[in-house]
Each structure stands twice: as C-alpha cells, then as structure tokens.
Subunit: 311 residues, 2 copies
C-alpha cells in the first residue's frame, strides 16, 4: 500500500514527490512511462523560472537539475503507464498497463495537457526552436521581431494580443474568414496596429536552418505566400490528459469542467477525498513551470495533512 | 500612471515583476523598503525549491540569483514603504510613507505574513541556524534527530505531528497545562510515541555555538531544565502584513477572512477588480517559496489579461 501515488512526471508531479518524501512519507511512487521532466524538456531556452537564468541551458538540462533533488528523499519512479485510478472504499486502486494494480492511500494526478499540433511540414522539426505553443513562455525571445500566430479561437487571438506588446508585428493566420473568438476580443485585435489578420489561409510549411525558423509558407485561396518570421505560435487547442480519471464506462471519477479540466480548490483538492490534481490539467492553470511546481508542493502538503487526519 | 504596482519584494512580488515585464508591460514598479528577497533570505540552507539543490548556498545567495533575472526585463524598484492602496474610480492610488502618491492601473499585493517571535534569549541570534518557524521548510534538516516545538495551538501540534515522521523525538513545550488545538489533533499527538508534551513550561533560552543550536533551557513550574536538541520550531502565531489594504478608517478595501488573510480565487483575484494578492498573505497559502512564486506568475498573467480587456 503506497502512502501516495503520483501520476505524471512533469514539474507538478516531481515537486509533489519532493515534498511528500521530504515531509516524511516513506512509500511514494511516481508513475511516468518515460523520463520525468514534462513538456518543458522540449524547450531550447528558459528564462522565466525564477532563480534559473542561464541562456546556455536547454529545457532538458533545466529539468536534469530537478531529478537528483526530487528523487533524493526517497521518491520511487515506476516506468509504467497508468490506465486508470479508482477509489475503492477508503483507498485507491491504480490500474497499470497490462492490468496489474497498485493500492494507494492518496493520489496526486499531474498528467498535464498537451497542445495540439496543426500537422504542417516542419512543425515537429522546429518545435522548441521557433515553433512554440506558449506566448507567455517564448514571446520575449522575439522581442522587437515579427512573428506569426496560427489559429482563430479565443486563445489564439488573446495570445496574439499578448505578443503584440512585445513583438514588432504579429501575423495571425486563420483558415476561415471569420473568427470563433469572442467579438470583443476580435474587435480589440483588429484595433491593434501591429496585428495583421491573414484569413482563408493554411500553413503549408515552416522552414529554417540550424539556428531555427526563417519563415512560414502559407496558402491563401490557392496561392502560396511567404512570411519571413523567426517565430511561429500555434494555438489550435489542447488535449487535457485526463484519461486516467475515467472509469471503465468512460465517466470521470471526479468533477471536471466542460473542457475536461479537473475542478480543484486552492488546496488542489478534487471532489474526491484523498485525490488531488496539480499542474496544467486543473482548471485555471496558468501553464507555467513555476505555477505547476507550486501546485505540486501544495498538493503534497495536503496529502500529508490528509494522512495525518486519518492517523 | 503605472501599468502595475507590485507591493512587496519576496518571491511572489519578484515573480510578478518578472512575468509582467517579460509579458510586455512597460511601466511596472515593485515597492519594497529594503532589499528584495523576503523571509527566505534568513534561512541558512534551502533544499525544497525545485531546481535549486546546493547545500553550500544560503537563502540570501539563493535570492541573489533571482535579482538579476526578475529585474532584467524592465521592472523598477522603489525603496519606499507603502502606507495604503485605494481604488479611486477605475485606477488605484498608492500612498507612500511621507504622503506622496503614485497612480496605477493594477496592483499586486504580496506583502507576506510574518511569524511572531516568542521573545526568549537567543531566538534572534539563532534564527535560521537552528531556530525555525517552518517545519515543512526545515524539518528534514533534523532527520533522525530530536527537536523541540514551542506552542500549543493547532499549527504547533500539527507541525509537531509533521516533524514526528521525520525526527527521532519531538518535545512540545507549552506554557499552559491544556492545549488550544482541536481535541482530535491533541488526541492524535498524544497517541504518537515520539511526541512528548512538556506543559506549564516557558522557554528561557536557546543556546549554541557557531555550528548552530545545542539546546534549549526552559522553566517548568519554577525549575530550570534543559533539552539537548539541535532544532527548535516556534509556532506562536503569524501577523498577516495586510495594513496596506486598510483605508484611513481601518476598514479593509477587499474581502479578507477572520485572520486577515486576503480572499482570492485560483487566479489570485481579490474582491476588487484590478487588485490581486499573491503569496503568504492570501488564504490557504502553503507558505513555500515555490508556491508564492507560482502565485506571482499567476497574478501577473491576470494583470496582463485585465489590461488587455480594458484596451
């Protein structure tokens, strides 16, 4: 019987592991099929995690420095995919791929959310080197330079607005001629001098070299055009990685919102006692490493308090 | 007119400064009378901030690494004490010591909370070198060793319980013969073999040398006794630093709870539009650097979104 099962090995899960084990829990396992680290390992540079300001280090190197620390206090790592979590009486049953099960007194789910890819040529090749899905994270790297944004929803236009305060020009490429975003957002974007809307257009390719992206080729009404930009931001939606919280009938075991994000309070408590959520999969998540790590610490302290109450 | 006024220079305020300026706000000032850094600068060692795991560095050195980064993107520092914040129409007026005022479109309050000192001999001298006010932060440094706890409230007993899972013995020193903590908490603590309650006792002195604390002298019913412990945890209450949120009549300008902690939601929004709170002064704060920093990032992104909506 685990004191705590942590599902997901990004910043939230790792920090939950650090805080539970350093807080005296003896039997804590983090389930992550691959190497822990999370999405940030795909970034080529990080400058907004407080206390870490080294332009020569990549996201992979940044998370390297977390590994020793987060596993130093006794956290175990199980390289297994979790199929689902169920509350069985007072405890939880974690079903792993292949069907084996593990029992746990508490669970922290921190499986994140995954930005969708648009599918154009060069998207994967240049991801983290010019292609980004996070304006907050990467906008500043294009200060005073032109960038392109792909998408037409609320997020795309809000992020385009955010970028317009940093970058010289923002070209929004959208496949339709109207926008799904809220009318007030569309109005605001249209009033901004350095935002340019390119409608009825589809990105064909992002191209560049060893230094990163040089430009974008898009097709507008049958004609191929080019934009010489060093950065392209893709906002075509997110998948919340919440499948472990679905039972065998596909129903969620805890409350989620319309987008499948887990509903939590300020203590990262879900609607199920002993089950906590942390990081990008929860409602209102700012989707920043430091905030996910804060969630992980918060959830871990609540796990310890919950176990104390049961003692 | 400031885009954003940040009040308080601890981890929450500094991170809010980093995220607002890196997010493109041109005119952001952090008000902090002294050197930014916060309470953590009083610690001799930090091992629970993810990504920072260097036992040779002090809290002061740890926060040093934040300064360059958080001020790199244009954040200004005003070494002034803020008297109060008032919402005047759509904007805020910040009154500084001496009576001068500054206008701001948004405000992030991050003035923290200050653990009370008990007032015994050696308390200040050994603070951060054996005397602590945070079991989560410092408990692990006494793994397998005996520690003393001062206090008799809920926090004191809950923290004693937390420490009992890490330390060999926990001696709780309390000035009365009964405890103010919830009966269930008192029962739980009494059932724990390695927690020892010392009642009707007052700490006279904590003593030690250059390496830190060697022990505690306390007076129990007229007799001076000693405990040879390397760590003493003082839990005699907190002062929430909320005075800047009081108007001239002493009423709070936003909703606070019974303890004076600012009520926020997951976005760090207070009950006043454009006013955000972050870090240890808010409700349910885990009082950890990484969580305060997460709050600061969250509040900053909300500041930017709020200003965009007004654009």
């Amino acid at each position: 019987m685990l004191d705590c099962a942590i599902i997901g090995g990004g910043p939230a899960g790792l920090t939950a592991g650090l805080y539970t084990t350093r807080g005296g829990l003896k039997n804590v396992t983090l389930f992550e099929l691959g190497l822990p680290g999370g999405q940030i390992t795909q970034s080529s540079e990080i400058e907004n995690y407080p206390g870490f300001f080294d332009h020569t280090k990549t996201g992979m190197q940044f998370m390297d420095s977390w590994q020793e620390q987060c596993f130093h206090f006794g956290l175990k790592h199980e390289m297994k995919k979790v199929e689902r979590v169920a509350k069985t009486g007072e405890h939880f049953t974690i079903t792993l791929e292949g069907g084996s099960t593990v029992e746990a007194k508490t669970v922290v789910v921190a499986t994140g959310s995954t930005p969708k890819r648009a599918g154009f040529k060069g998207e994967d090749e240049f991801f983290g080197r010019g292609v980004s899905t996070c304006a907050t994270c990467d906008g500043f790297f294009y200060k005073g330079k032109p960038v392109a944004v792909l998408g037409g929803g609320d997020t795309a236009l809000e992020e385009a607005f955010y970028l317009s305060n940093i970058c010289s020009e923002v070209y929004v490429i959208h496949r339709r001629d109207s926008f799904r975003a809220a009318p007030s957002t569309v109005d605001r974007v249209k009033r901004k001098d350095n935002i340019h809307l390119i409608t009825n257009a589809v990105i064909e390719e992002v191209y560049g070299g060893v230094m990163g992206v040089d430009g974008v080729k898009y097709n507008q009404e049958g004609e191929t055009k080019e934009l010489a930009v060093p950065g392209l931001f893709v906002f075509v939606g997110h998948n919340v990685n919440n499948s472990v919280l679905k039972d065998e009938n596909g129903s969620f075991i805890c409350d989620v919102n319309d987008w499948g994000e887990v509903i939590v309070n300020l203590s990262m408590k879900t609607s199920v006692e002993g089950l906590f959520a942390a990081g990008d999969m929860r409602i209102e998540a700012p989707k920043q490493v430091v905030a996910a790590a804060g969630d992980g610490a918060t959830a871990a302290l609540q796990v310890i308090a919950y176990l104390q109450e049961q003692a």
